[in-house]
Symmetry: C2
Subunit: 160 residues, 2 copies
DNA sequence: CTTGAAAGCCGGTGGTA
DNA sequence: TACCACCGGCTTTCAAG
């Protein structure tokens, strides 16, 4: 599944809406020197292509009571059980990311918990029963950077 | 910096807008059985409290050419250089997260790169010069789960 | 991609409890 | 303080060109 070629207008639009999902489309239109309808059509196109997958409000985890963020490397007892474990992890709301990775771990997940005690209970009561051989936990004291990937459309290089 | 007490209306609003930043406030209002102005005011309150930190469109990294996602554990040469390294990492757009963690690493970051070659060049040309003693890279083949933390307001337990 | 127009929303004001 | 009703101006969305 390769990626699609985006033109300059797509790129401008993505840059503007990526960091502010509630920006009025007309404002985007003015910034891009096109009509509002054009923005509407492009955003629909980008959505249909699966490039835009939705929008989110960004919520400060600490401010709603999630004081502990942790990454956990998982060793499975049965390396065949990826899919069933992934499905089980889906049902644990504290798990916000789940990766299938190279290296020593079979899986690698990110968790938000209310505090260290809550984190321990998630690991002990919810994760271990899934058939894990062992886990390694990495607690984050502080998330210094949290942002989206850069939006840089690789254009065919033009000679100057 | 503890967290604020949210009531049921705040919680309902957060749940609705967290997963869809462009939902009309009036639709939220109808779902919550209050007026549109009430939603408007609550969202402003939540923003002022710092609970809402903005909004984002969710973009599929692969669809815009980022085929490699990796986590990197960093050992610093000089453990005092957190702040300057963090600042330097800010200037590297491929770095999307940066954590200060417990355990063996001094820092832990997440990176999006176009491909393995691009990832290597980021590590070699941009990260190593910052004064790192060593790095450990964990490449993600597949991100099976990617979502926000659960919004569960701890209410004072009410007897039934 | 544009214009144009209808439908509907946003964000403010003032009033009520 | 928190909610509601109301209104002007702007946005969104869908034609058609």
């Amino acid at each position: 599944m390769g990626h699609h070629q985006l033109d300059t207008l797509d790129e401008q639009i993505l840059k503007l809406i990526a960091e502010n999902a509630r920006i009025p489309f007309l404002e985007v239109a003015r910034a891009c020197n096109v009509s509002g309808a054009a923005i509407h059509q492009r955003i629909q196109k980008l959505t249909n292509l699966g490039i835009l997958k939705g929008s989110e409000f960004v919520i400060d985890p600490e401010k709603i009571g999630y004081e502990t963020c942790a990454y956990i490397g998982i060793y499975l007892k049965d390396p065949e059980s990826f899919d069933s474990v992934t499905q089980a992890l889906q049902a644990i709301p504290e798990v916000v990311e789940c990766h299938f990775t190279t290296g020593k771990y079979d899986m690698f997940i990110k968790i938000y918990a209310r505090n260290n005690h809550h984190l321990l209970s998630v690991i002990h009561d919810k994760l271990q029963p899934l058939g894990l051989a062992r886990t390694e936990t990495l607690i984050s004291f502080h998330e210094a950077i949290k942002r989206q990937m850069p939006i840089i459309v690789e254009t065919e290089e033009e000679e100057l």
